[in-house]
């Protein structure tokens, strides 16, 4: 995995709360057997009209959204299905971070494992960001903080090990495999009756 340290980008705002992973990538696109190319289908039902043409009103189809790498979203982003296709689609489209006051558990975990930063901020910060689409935000994972164009720095929580892996481009599986001796000991101690 590529390391993530610090980047700066303008934001794009999707203010709706409870944006579920069925909206991020509808189920009919989950028949793929690879991770690539899902960006085209990101938010498909909001982004395209029934005839397949882009809906000019949807924010991702507007010129001001072009090149934005930070998605600012309403409360409880990423709820619903565990599909990892959701962060895959966001990343493939070009997003590198999602900012909200609440991010659903499974989506958050999936994002961290793919280098998409799930950033949880307090209500006033979120409000400011929602009201200022296009704001240039500096995301600094080393210092675990955002810097808003106003100069205000906002720290955000992030699981320590995930941060370590992201900063150093480490894959978690390598670490997990280094624990195989402990896993073997655990298995040896099992009565064997847990699963028959």
């Amino acid at each position: 995995m590529q390391s993530v340290k610090r980047f700066r980008s303008k934001t794009v705002v999707i203010a709706a709360s409870n944006v579920d992973t069925d909206q991020i990538i509808p189920a009919r696109f989950l028949t793929t057997t690879t991770k690539e190319g899902l960006g085209k289908q990101l938010f498909a039902d909001w982004r395209y009209r029934s005839d397949g043409a882009p809906d000019a009103d949807f924010i991702l189809n507007r010129p001001e959204a072009r090149g934005a790498e930070i998605l600012v979203a309403g409360r409880n982003f990423g709820c619903g299905s565990s599909r990892e296709h959701a962060p895959w689609a966001l990343l493939d489209y070009g997003f590198r971070a999602v900012i909200s006051t609440e991010i659903a558990d499974i989506f958050r975990g999936n994002s961290l494992k793919n280098g998409l930063l799930p950033i949880v901020v307090d209500e006033p910060t979120s409000q400011w960001l929602l009201e200022h689409p296009g704001a240039e935000v500096d995301v600094d994972l080393q210092a675990v903080r955002l810097i808003l164009p106003t100069g205000r720095a906002v720290s955000f929580p992030i699981e320590a090990f995930a941060r370590h892996c992201l900063l150093n481009g480490i894959d978690e599986l390598g670490y997990l495999r280094s624990k195989l001796p402990c896993i073997e000991r655990h298995e040896a101690a099992l009565s064997g009756a847990l699963v028959e």
Binding site: D22, P26, S82
Partner: protein
């Protein structure tokens, strides 16, 4: 020291390496369930690293999400209509063969929705850790297992190491007192719980459902409750095992037998929260007050009693958007609204008792003209039992479309979809925009309410027809 919760006990028994401030715990996984949609990329990872599946005997695969439900496509010579789905099915067959994993393939009599077949086979057992690349893995918590959904990267981790890196979630007691009234089901209970807690109220937590109303539920009903824990944002939902659990498991094919059964039972009886256990959060619900419930919006928390009205506002920007999508207005009553499609099935309500409930209403009645009633059993075993006990005949006589098992219209991946703008009364678990098809409008209900609404062609309180 205060007592420990059921969740604490199951967690501790599986912690291979304890968590520290710098590193998450390594949690051992007893049972890993696999399906065709969220596994291909995980198997590709193993292939690219040249790794085997570490514990194929703790891994079980089925196909359910994108599989067809018409008998001709499952058992006849008609090929699977959706090409990409056919490709996923073939890929899972290849991966299972290559990695030595047991697969319940397309024509296997044990095939079905992953969260339905594992309990019915007796693979799901109290005190286990169970994961699957599917958020409704919480279903298995009904047996006192710690069961949760994971993403595809984690599916790869479990395939490779039989373990996961996890931070320990917090605990949340959901106390349900009283008793459900006649015509009020486990589905109505969980919809009202989600309404109370909110769709993100459980984030970061594992629920434990407790109290007399929970004790009074059958295993099928407990699974319905635990299944939708994720719809309140919770990682998992658990119910301490009791005699009802043990009775259910005793004759399942893969439950321990003989002396092993006795040993397992002794262990399982210790699986409950200590009386002085402390939970990080809790809520008290009175089951006696619960009415049959129905959703009116685009998430499962937007639910009202069926005789009630859509609220004027819920103080949420999404509310107006949801009503526009649904074609509803605030303040409107729910009863009597027209119905186009009725879906009875899914891992929430596709079990035998759900079909029996629907049959109670459908027996001797006909589906209203113009309404499509689709009944999809949760597994082939359930299909066989439903046929043997005469339910199949009741469904056919009522004019229902009675299919082979699978996820089907719960998520519409296999071509079983609801048309744009159509109203679907569904026993599934998600009423998200487009969940059952582009532009489809889903209203979540119990199997009783679904069957009653299919008969009248409009939203109906099932107590009128029982």
């Amino acid at each position: 020291m205060s007592g420990r919760t059921l969740f604490d006990k199951v967690w501790a028994a599986h912690e291979v390496v304890a968590e520290t401030s710098d590193t998450p715990a390594v949690l051992y996984i007893d049972l890993h369930l696999i399906h065709e949609v969220t596994s291909p990329q995980a198997f590709s990872l193993l292939q690219s690293l040249g790794l085997p599946v570490r514990r194929p005997e703790r891994t079980l695969a089925t196909m359910d999400h994108s599989t067809p439900t018409t008998t001709e496509q499952v058992f006849g010579n008609v090929p699977i209509k959706v090409d990409a789905a056919a490709k996923q099915v073939r890929q899972l067959e290849r991966n299972a063969a290559e990695f030595g994993i047991e697969l319940f393939g397309m024509r296997d009599a044990r095939r079905g929705i992953v969260h339905v077949i594992s309990p019915e086979l007796g693979c799901t057992q109290p005190g286990m850790t169970i994961v699957c690349g599917d958020s409704h893995t919480s279903t298995h918590g009904a047996f006192g297992a710690l069961a949760f959904g994971i993403g595809t990267t984690e599916v790869g981790h479990v395939l490779a190491t039989q373990s996961l890196l996890q931070r320990k979630p917090k605990s949340f007691a959901v106390n349900v007192n009283g008793k459900l009234r006649q015509g009020v089901t486990a589905k109505d209970l969980i919809l009202s719980i989600i309404g109370r807690i909110g769709v993100s109220g459980g984030t970061g937590h594992v629920f434990e459902y407790q109290g007399p109303a929970i004790r009074g539920l059958s295993m099928d009903e407990r699974m319905t409750v635990c299944n939708m824990s994720i719809e309140a944002g919770a990682r998992a939902g658990m119910i301490a095992p009791d005699e009802i659990t043990f009775d259910y498991l005793k004759d399942t094919p893969r439950a321990p037998k003989g002396r092993d059964w006795d040993a397992a039972l002794a262990r399982w009886r210790t699986l409950n929260s200590d009386l002085d256990a402390k939970f990080d959060a809790s809520v008290d619900i009175d089951a006696t007050e619960i009415e049959p419930m129905i959703t009116y919006g685009t998430n499962p928390g937007m639910a009202v009693p069926i005789g009630g009205a859509i609220p004027d506002t819920i103080g949420d920007a999404g509310f107006d958007k949801a009503l526009r999508y649904m074609g509803f207005h605030n303040g409107e009553g729910m009863l009597g609204k027209p119905v186009n499609v009725v879906f009875i099935g899914s891992c929430t309500n596709g079990r035998l008792e759900d079909l029996q409930a629907a049959a109670r209403i459908l027996k001797g009645r006909k589906v209203a003209p113009g309404v499509h009633l689709l009944i999809v059993p949760g597994s082939q075993q359930i299909k066989l039992k439903a046929e043997a006990s005469g339910l199949g005949e009741i469904f056919r006589a009522a004019g229902a479309d009675w299919r082979e098992s699978g996820c089907s219209m719960c998520l519409g991946m296999n071509g079983d979809t609801v048309g744009a703008g159509q109203y679907s009364i569904s026993t599934s678990n998600r009423n998200f925009e487009g969940r059952q098809g582009v532009g489809a409008r889903t209203l979540l209900v119990s199997p009783l309410t679904a069957a009653a609404s299919a008969v009248t062609g409009k939203i109906t309180d099932p107590r009128e027809l029982i």
